[in-house]
Amino acid sequence: MDNCVIAADGLGKRYRIRHGRYPQDGLRHVMADWLTNPLRRGAAKMEDLWAVRDVSFEVERGEVLGVIGRNGSGKTTLLKLLSRITPPTEGRARLTGRVGSLLEVGTGFHPDLTGRENIYLNGAILGMRRREIDAGFDEIVAFAEVERFLDMPVKRYSSGMYVRLAFAIAAHLQPEILLIDEVLAVGDVRFQAKCLGKMRDVARGGRTALFVSHNMSAVRSLCDRAMVLESGRAELFDDVDGAIRSYMATAAPHMAQQWRAGDSPPACCDNDVVVPLGMKLLDENGDILPAVVPRSRSVSVELDFELKRLDRFLTLGVAVYDATGNYLFHSLQTDGAESDWLDLRPGRNRIRARLPMEMLNEGEHRVVFLAAIHKIKWLCRPDDSNVAVSFTIAGGMSQSPYWQEGRRGLVAPIMQWRKEPAV
C-alpha cells in the first residue's frame, strides 16, 4: 500500500507585481481609472513573481522533512499552499490524513477572554475537536505553567506567559501531518529547550512533518531528510548535512566549511609571497565537516596555497574567532620546535592541522587564513579577511551530566582534577 503521505507535483504560486505609479487600493480609484481610461491605454506594467516554482517532492509516513532556505525563498508560501491558505497557480499536491498547520502561535487569541477560554478558542482555530481539547487541557496548562492565571484575561499576561500558552496549545495538536513554520523561536532559553524537546517527541512519535526553520541545529536533530528552497525552486537532499551545506554555501558563503579562491587572488591577501587557493574543514574521515558538530568530533583545517617564493621568516596558519568576533587565538606552522616546521616549497602546498576542539566552547567559530613575514609585515591579515571557513559546535561538550548546555567563557577546556591528601 502506498506509504506516501504528502505528494507534491510541480507546485507553483505566482504573484503579480505592478510597476509604475503605486495603485491606490480603493474601489473608487478602480472606478475612476476605468472611467478615465476605459481602453487601458498605457496600463501599468505587470511583473510575474513566482514565489514557488515547479516544486515536487514526496514525504512518507513518519518522516520529518526539513525545509531550509533564505528569507524570501518561498518556504512560507509553500507551507501556505499545503495548508490551503492560498491556492496554487499550477501543479498539484495530495495529502493523506488530517493536517495541522502551525504558521504562528497564538493565532486568534482574544485579549479580553481568559486563558481558559482562549485555550478552547485557539484549539478550535487550529482544528482540534472540543473533546480533544478537553482531554489535553490539563497537559496544556501544565506545559505552559499558567495554572494560577487561567481565569485572567490574557491581555494581563506577561509576554512570556502569553507565548508559552500559545505554544502549549499548538504543541498538543494531534494531526497525522504537521506543517510547522519556525515557531520554535519563542520564549526564553529554558522554554526554547522545552519546545525543542516537545518537537523531538512529535518527530519520534511517528507523525509526518514538514519543518521549516532557520535553526540549523534544530533541523539537524529533528529531520530525516531536507529540502533547500532558493528563489522558489527546490532541491531535495537525502542527507540533512548535505542540504545544510548547500544552503550555507549560497546563503552565507562566509559561513561555509570550505572556501575556494576565485579568478583573482582575494584583495585582502594581495602580496608577492603567498596566494591562498582554498581552505577546508575536515572531519576525522577526511570528509568536509558538517556545519554543526558536537565537540567530541575531531576537526582539522586544511590550507591550500601557492608560494611564489620562499622566505626564511614566512609564518602562516590560522586565526580563530568566536561568534561575537572575539579573537580567541592564532596558530602558525612555525609554532613548534624548528625540527617540526614543515618543509614548504615554491609552488603549490597543502598543509593540515587538527583544531584543539577540547579547548573550544559551544557556538559558531570562524577560522581565518593568516600569513606574515615574522616581525616585519602582514601578508594576509586575519581581521578583515574573507579567506575563512566556519563551523558551529553544539553539544558533546563533555560526558558529565552536569555539563549539557553552553557555559560562560571564551574557551571551555576540561581540566583534570585530582585529589591530594588533606594536610
Binding site: 473608487r28 501556505k80 492560498t86 499536491a93
Partner: protein
Amino acid sequence: MTQPDVRHEQIIRPPSGLDVNLGELWAYRELFWALAMRSILGRYRQTVIGILWAVVRPVVTMVTLTVVFHRVGGMASQGPPYLLLALAGVVPWLLFWQCVTGSTTSLVTSSEMIKKVYFPRLIIPAAACITALVDFVVSLGVFAVMMILLGFAPTWRLALLPAAGLLALAAALGPGLWLSALNARYRDVMHLVPFLMTVGMFISPVGYASSQVGESWRLVYSLNPMVCVIDSFRWVLLSGAAGGVGVAGFGLSISVAAALLVSGLAVFRYMERTFADVI
C-alpha cells in the same frame, strides 16, 4: 504498517469553477461557534453598559423616528399605535444594519487568522451575523415590553416569528457577503456602508408602513429587499394591522433578497481564493 487514512485525503490544485461546499461548513461548525462566542463575549466583557446597549439602541431609534416622522412629519399610523409600528420596523432593521456593518469589516479584522489558518472563510461574516442575532433577541424583548405597556395583544401569527427572523437573516447575509468580500479587496468599501445604511433606513418602511407608498411607486419601491422583511415582521408582530406593499411587491422584494444571497455566496467563494494574498 498502518494504512493511510484515505477518508482524509485532500487534493490541492489551482481553483476552477465555483463550489459552495456546504458540507465543509458543517465540518467546521465547532470553529463557527467558537468564533461567534469570541465575538459576543469580547463585545460585552469589560463594558459596563454591555448588554444594556442592546436595549438602548432600539428604544432610542424608535423614539427618534416617532419624533421625526410622527410628531414633526405628521405621519399617522393606520392601525396600531405609531410607537409599535415604528418599533416593529426598527427591530428587523437593526438586525440588518448590525449584520451588514459587522460583516463588512469582519474579514479585515480577522486578517491575521485568514493569513495563518485554513477554514472556510464564510464562517467569519456568518459569525458576525450571529452576534447581531443576540441583540435582535434582546430587542424582541423590548418589543414585548412595549406591547404590554400599550395594551396591544398579539395573535397566532406570532408563531411565525422565527420564519420572519430567518428571512431577515437571509436578506442581511446577501449584502453582508458582497460587502465583506469587496472590502477585503478594496478597503474603502467600508466607508460606503454608513451612507448606504442612512439612505436605506429612509427608503425602507422603518418609520412608516409600506402601504403608505403611492401606488405608482410601489413596484420600484419593492426592489428593496428589506421591504419584504419589514412587512413580514409587521404582519407577524402587529397581526396585519398595518398594511403591506401587496403581493406583487412582496414577491419582487423577496426575489431581490434571494438574488443578493445567491450572488453574494458566489462572489464570496470566488474572491475567497485571493483573500489571504490581498488582505
